[in-house]
């Protein structure tokens, strides 16, 4: 069974600065997908970024980028130029190919200080 671990229950960052959230996972699969979701106080889960394991290039979406280290089974999220609206719970998630469930980490609560 796959497991996803987020070792940072809480993180804080100053507005306009950069923060990195960590995620490690365990799987015996060679092909899979990784995601970062954010859950603001409204509780609506919002997809931030997605990474296919077969792609060596790290995914980037505007101010959000990942550092995907397949051998180390590590998948960190970097948020650049942090904004107050980035404050939320961030979840790392794993999915096998061909659909299937998302396995989530425990989450990291990000606070952005003005």
């Amino acid at each position: 069974a796959q497991t996803v671990t987020q070792s940072q229950p809480e993180m804080s960052v100053q507005e306009a600065e950069t923060v990195t959230l960590s995620c490690t996972y365990d799987t015996s699969e060679s092909d899979y997908y990784l995601f970062w979701y954010k859950q603001p106080p409204s509780r609506q889960m919002i997809l931030v970024i997605r990474q296919e394991a077969y792609k060596q290039q790290n995914a980037t979406e505007n101010r959000f980028s990942v550092n995907f280290q397949k051998a180390a089974k590590s998948f960190s999220l970097k948020i650049s130029d942090s904004q107050l609206g980035d404050a939320a719970m961030y979840f790392c998630a794993f999915s096998e190919t061909s659909g299937s469930r998302l396995t989530f980490g425990e989450g990291t609560q990000l606070t952005v200080n003005p």
Partner: protein
């Protein structure tokens, strides 16, 4: 484009009763997923439906069940409610998974179920 919708927003039930939660996927999405987010337990996968059939099930007792209708909307039923069933229930939808392809899951706002 309308997102995933869920109803009701809040639901209060008494232990032993049944709860029915509803989800409408994004237009064009055939897969619907249900997750439970209980305090202290994180997000746990419950059920996955595609094309009207249950495709996968999480580690939950049989009193958690559901179905998917021909229009791809879905219902989650929880029978014989227990206090620990109190949680936020999230529904997500995606395009039909293909061989070797996983599509993003888009989530609804959730239904907050409180069991007293």
């Amino acid at each position: 484009e309308a997102g995933v919708t869920q109803s009701p927003t809040h639901l209060i039930k008494t232990r032993g009763q049944q709860a029915t939660l509803r989800c409408s996927p994004i237009s064009g999405h055939t897969s619907v997923y249900w997750y439970q987010q209980a305090l202290g337990l994180g997000l746990q996968f419950l059920l996955w439906y595609d094309e009207g059939e249950e495709r996968n099930r999480g580690n939950f007792p049989p009193r958690f069940s559901g179905r998917q209708f021909p229009n791809y909307s879905s219902e989650l039923n929880v029978n014989a409610l227990e206090l620990e069933d109190s949680a936020l229930y999230l529904c997500a939808s995606s395009l039909r998974p293909g061989q070797g392809v996983t599509y993003e899951q888009y989530f609804g706002p959730g239904t907050r179920l409180t069991v007293t």
